[in-house]
């Protein structure tokens, strides 16, 4: 998933779970059946999981643009100065 897809997936997951929770409670309370509430919520959780957790292609619509290899060659990586001054354990002052 790309960054945009991750954001969409997370927002969808949060909203979907909360909505299923509220709907499950409302329907269960109105009907008077605890089983129905659990059933609606459980299937809501499974549905949300199927939509948001796997790496679906519709979450990859904004792919990252990596730098072109030919462009990268024109800008070489800066060299890190490895010759750092060594610390001497000096016994004499």
């Amino acid at each position: 998933m790309d960054w945009e897809g991750q954001k969409r997936s997370e927002i969808f997951m949060l909203i979907s779970l909360v909505v299923f929770g509220v709907v499950a409670f409302g329907v269960g309370y109105a009907i008077g059946s605890f089983q129905i509430m659990m059933l609606i919520y459980g299937s809501g959780v499974v549905l949300t999981a199927l939509i948001t957790v796997p790496n679906w292609p519709f979450f990859n619509r904004h792919p990252l643009k990596w730098l072109d290899p030919s462009e990268a060659d024109r800008h070489p990586k800066p060299q890190v100065n490895t010759a750092a001054p060594k610390k001497k354990a000096s016994k004499q002052k």
Binding site: Q6, G21, F25, Y29, G32, Y41
Partner: protein, 167 residues
């Protein structure tokens, strides 16, 4: 939200939190239920009233019990456990409570009934104090929910006197 397992973990955790909120809300709403229970119990006859070899009195009765517990059931009720207790006072104990009969009511449809039964559990005293004793019947109920707090209640039903002599 970087990997499959990460998203799965987030989903499971958040779903569990919401589940806890739902169960808490369901249990919380139970407190607003104001039930009205009707019940009656009386002794039809004393089958046996004797003194055991251990020195304790023992009574066996036939009871006529009728009750209407339908108002106790909410959507969050799994079952109602109801038992009939005989309460009396002796010089040794200020309150003796003995369960004579109990029953599990699985749903609202079974909550109103009438039964003529012998007591399931014998009424055995600690000692020999029961002759001529005044005994009160109290119906206790425990409302067991699907989730949350169990609610108890009771109602005094009737009084009776035990016979003066052993039968």
């Amino acid at each position: 939200m970087h990997s499959f397992v990460y998203r799965l973990n987030t989903l499971v955790t958040f779903a569990a939190v919401i589940l806890a909120v739902l169960c808490g809300a369901a249990s919380f709403l139970d407190a607003f239920n104001s039930p009205s229970v009707r019940a009656h119990a009386e002794v039809i006859k004393f089958n046996r009233f004797r003194k055991q070899l251990s020195g304790n009195d023992e009574v066996s009765l036939t009871l006529n019990i009728s009750m209407d517990l339908r108002s106790l059931f909410t959507w969050n009720t799994k079952q109602v456990f109801v038992f009939l207790a005989a309460e009396y006072e002796t010089s040794k104990n200020s309150l003796n409570q003995i369960s004579l009969w109990d029953y599990i009511i699985p749903d609202k449809d079974h909550a109103k009934f009438q039964a003529q039964v012998a007591n399931k559990y014998p009424l055995i005293d600690q000692g020999s104090n029961l002759r001529g004793k005044k005994v009160e019947f109290v119906l206790h109920w425990h409302v067991m929910p699907w989730t949350g707090r169990m609610i108890e209640g009771k109602m005094a039903v009737s009084n009776f006197y035990l016979p003066e002599a052993y039968t």
